[in-house]
């Protein structure tokens, strides 16, 4: 164990030496350049702003609502508005086209559902197959509330059950109670 510090220094030296070697070689610089280029590429990709033009304000609002309501099918946990996926861009474009054609909110939703299913909607429609999805949480809540309510009432009942409360005390019990009170009372008064 005593040799371990020495060993560590040796290995640290080895690391320095190898990193120096990398620095000295051109590979390091090209690697750095590639990394920088990657960051640059990412930044420019994110900075790209999609300019979407509409004729009226209500069209623009509908567009904003729709792309917030529709799910990106590739990323699944993002809506069309948030997603950078290729398909999301195509579907945003299609949404815009449909709006410019004068389609209503329902018609656009119908268009998407006909091709991608209910999954494309963030709010699933209420129908036989989605009943559980919609009502299971409420059912579970009611069940738990009922259970807790009954449990609470039962514990309250057992605590104040008239059968458990003695109606008379022996003199010994009264003495004990009195001595306990005497012990505690002075403290409480201070």
């Amino acid at each position: 164990m005593k040799q371990s510090p020495g060993l560590r220094t040796a290995s640290t030296r080895a690391v320095y030496a190898s990193s120096l070697h990398i620095v000295a070689s051109g590979a390091w610089w090209s690697a750095l350049a590639v990394i920088c280029a990657m960051f640059l590429a990412v930044t420019t990709a994110d900075a790209r702003v999609e300019i979407v033009e509409f004729e009226t304000d209500s069209q623009r609002r509908l567009y904003q609502d729709m792309i917030a309501e529709l799910r990106c099918l590739v990323c699944q946990n993002q809506n069309l508005a948030d997603s950078n996926a290729d398909l999301a861009r195509d579907l945003r474009q299609r949404t815009r086209d449909l709006i410019l054609q004068g389609k209503t909110r329902d018609e656009i939703a119908e268009f998407m559902v006909a091709r991608y299913g209910d999954f494309v909607l963030y709010r699933p429609p209420l129908k036989a197959s989605t009943l559980v999805l919609w009502f299971a949480p409420f059912a579970l809540f009611c069940f738990m509330a009922l259970y807790l309510f009954r449990r609470f009432r039962r514990s309250q009942q057992s605590q104040f059950d008239s059968k458990n409360v003695p109606t008379s005390y022996s003199s010994d019990e009264l003495d004990t109670a009195a001595s306990l009170l005497q012990k505690d009372l002075p403290d409480a008064r201070k």
């Binding site: 099918l73 590739v74 699944q76 290729d86 398909l87 195509d90 579907l91 299609r94 559902v113 006909a114 091709r115 991608y116 299913g117 999954f119």
Partner: protein
């Protein structure tokens, strides 16, 4: 003293749900287009000026395989389609999805061309009509022009043998009777 069993029962129920969850594939969105008419399209054939119209195919069953040269998983399933082209008389239509025609042609030259026809979908609009959300996807369409099956993601050898081929055979049989 049944109450001591409650945690165990709860554990078994939760484990049961988790066990079922292992087999779910949330990535695979069930297609609403199965048993619906295949959306019609008319587009260019790859590297030609000829048009291809999907309704021309009515009368015989066909396979629609959505692929692209940039798609890595397509490479994985491609040998199986080469094989299918040799083994079956079924018409295989490749939908070249958002690809560069030259790269697509090169890709086929290198890996083999199983397609009887190749339709170009450079904008992805045909893909949207078919509810394509990832490449590759494969559709089986019968001689009435109805979509009979949709496979999402790369086809494995097992998928081909156990799911696609039996369906293709029965579609061919149906079209002849």
């Amino acid at each position: 003293m049944y109450r001591f069993w409650y945690p165990l029962i709860a554990f078994v129920i939760v484990s049961g749900f988790l066990w079922l969850g292992l087999d779910l594939k949330p990535r695979e969105i069930p297609s609403v287009l199965v048993d619906k008419p295949a959306p019609e399209f008319s587009t260019k054939r790859l590297l030609t000026d000829n048009q291809i119209t999907s309704t021309d195919l009515i009368g015989k069953p066909w396979v629609l395989n959505v692929w692209a040269s940039w798609c890595v998983a397509c490479r994985q399933e491609h040998p199986l389609f080469n094989d299918l082209a040799k083994r079956s008389e079924i018409t295989i239509l490749g939908l070249n999805y958002k690809d560069k025609p030259v790269e697509a042609a090169e890709w086929l030259q290198n890996l083999g061309n199983p397609y009887d026809l190749i339709a170009v979908d450079d904008t992805g609009n045909i893909g949207i009509e078919y509810g394509v959300y990832g490449v590759p996807e494969t559709f089986l369409i019968d001689h009435h022009g109805m979509i009979r099956y949709k496979h999402i993601g790369p086809v494995s050898a097992q998928d081909m043998e156990q799911i696609l081929l039996p369906r293709i055979r029965s579609m061919l049989q149906d079209s002849k009777t």
